[in-house]
């Protein structure tokens, strides 16, 4: 699962002009050659800052994204689904750990990142601020939100920062289970009773808008990211990712006989691009800034978990260990 739609809003590229031109040229040449950047390499401040922000947001999305699904473990239909969902939720939390470590190689500690998540300073994927009312909502996340995540992650795995690519390679391998599991759940609902079908249709109706938001604001209104694309921090535009997702999954949703609540959704056979109703970006902004149906609950669950775990961390403290920036 992944926090799509990194907005990079208001990035200031002024600092790039102040970098050492020779080092900057060497850095850009390395990326242009397709070589990866490793933690000890020189890198522009803006590159470091944006990568920390992106990987951190991704990590937060994994850990928060485990909550709306985790809540369904005890109510998943049958032992088989419970085992699978537990394994999936464990994977998501594991992904967060991999990603926090990758971000840490850039110089921000994991605990600082968690602090920023809880204080609301760092963001996570907007989609996890919506509630999972039924088992079908949980299936929607497992199949389609993870599918969207895979589109993003496969692109980012070709990025320029070594530790992030290594983490993503591992994550993508595990996501293939999530996707197949999610699709499996949905096939069972689709081929089940009328009530089961209706449950999944209702889930699509509820989740379609957040799903369209998932890839971030339209290219028309999102900030200028040319330098981030050149540095292979961002690998495709938000609209390109959204289009790729629609292209791969709308036919699969239709195949199962479900409808999508957008009368304008249609593929242009000539351009290969999908037309759709522009999502409500005001709602997106409102929810990302804290005013969604579940923002408070998600952060409060994390905060309480953090507080409850405090005595364990204190009990484990040892003068023999020390936090240092991990290596790779």
């Amino acid at each position: 699962m992944y926090g799509g739609g990194n907005t990079f809003e208001g990035i200031k590229t002024d600092s790039v002009a102040q970098e050492d031109p020779a080092k900057l040229a060497e850095f850009e040449a390395r990326i242009a050659r397709g070589e990866k950047i490793e933690p000890t390499d020189w890198m522009p401040q803006l590159y470091r800052k944006q990568l920390i922000r992106m990987i951190e947001q991704h990590a937060h999305s994994e850990i928060i994204g485990a909550l709306p699904e985790g809540t369904w473990i005890t109510r998943a239909p049958g032992f088989r689904r419970k085992m699978a969902l537990m394994a999936k939720v464990q994977d998501e939390v594991g992904h967060a750990q991999l990603l926090y470590s990758a971000a840490e190689t850039l110089g921000k500690s994991r605990e600082k990142m968690i602090e920023d998540l809880l204080s609301g300073k760092s963001k996570y994927s907007n989609i996890f601020n919506y509630p999972t009312f039924t088992w079908a909502d949980c299936c929607f996340i497992s199949w389609l939100v993870d599918a969207g995540a895979i589109v993003n992650q496969l692109a980012n795995a070709k990025g320029s920062y070594g530790p992030y690519c290594r983490a993503l390679d591992r994550i993508c391998a595990e996501e293939s289970f999530h996707l197949k599991y999610g699709h499996h759940c949905v096939i069972y609902l689709a081929s089940g009773t009328a009530k089961q079908r209706q449950m999944f249709q209702d889930a699509i109706n509820r989740w379609w808008a957040p799903m369209m938001h998932f890839f971030g604001p339209s290219d028309k209104i999102s900030a200028h990211t040319e330098v981030l694309m050149r540095w292979k921090v961002k690998m495709a535009t938000n609209d390109d990712m959204r289009n790729q997702f629609l292209d791969m999954y709308v036919p699969k949703i239709w195949e199962l006989g479900f409808t999508i609540p957008d009368p304008n959704l249609k593929k242009n056979a000539e351009t290969g691009k999908w037309a759709y109703t522009e999502p409500d970006w005001e709602e997106f902004k409102r929810v990302i800034n804290g005013d969604g149906p579940c923002n408070k609950e998600r952060l409060e669950v994390r905060r309480v978990a953090e507080e409850r775990g405090k005595w364990v961390r204190e009990a484990l403290k040892s003068p023999k260990t020390a936090y240092v920036t991990p290596l790779a």
Binding site: E115, Y188, A190, R303, R313, L316, Y323, L327, A328
Partner: protein, 205 residues
Amino acid sequence: MNSLDPRVNRLPAIGQPGQILPKAALDQLGTFEVFVQPKDGKPFQHEGIVHAANRELAFVLAKEAFTRRFLCTSLFVADTRHVYVSPTTEGNTNAMDQLAEVINQPGTAEAYDIFVLPKRGKQHVHVGQVQAVLPQEAMWKAKQQNLHQGKVVYNVWAIRTADIRFTTEEEKDLWLTLPEKKFRDASDYKGGDKLKEFLERSKTT
């Protein structure tokens, strides 16, 4: 809280809702580097990092974090502070060629494990063991002994073998149950037949 999830509603009231206190300095725990051997006969490679209070806990966490699925025959962990790191190179510059000559150091020689980065963006891979007094000397010996087999490598790590927490022989059965955990694997979720049957059914109705 007013959640759809009754367990969330039952969470104990700890601290002030929404109030975040700064973390204590040592709340971070230490960092440990994890190395995994996917198959017998294959070299160990660096898999990532765990945060832990000590080496034993790091080993347990590493098992959970990195070897829940896929093949694994063994893993080991070492404190990040115990990894000695060479400069990183690029292009055709071999990191081995950048090492300083360190020989005949006074003291007792010990075993060091050597790892190299074969390609930027890939993992460090274990290439062998040397006897040395200092990690710098261990790296130089690795170069002399051509542990990198003449290939261009971009970074070298040396860890004193005594600082590594290895998997013991008795612990190797930790991974024997992996093949039974098919529910963690994409191949266990074949919906093709059910989908086909559903599509056939839809056509006729």
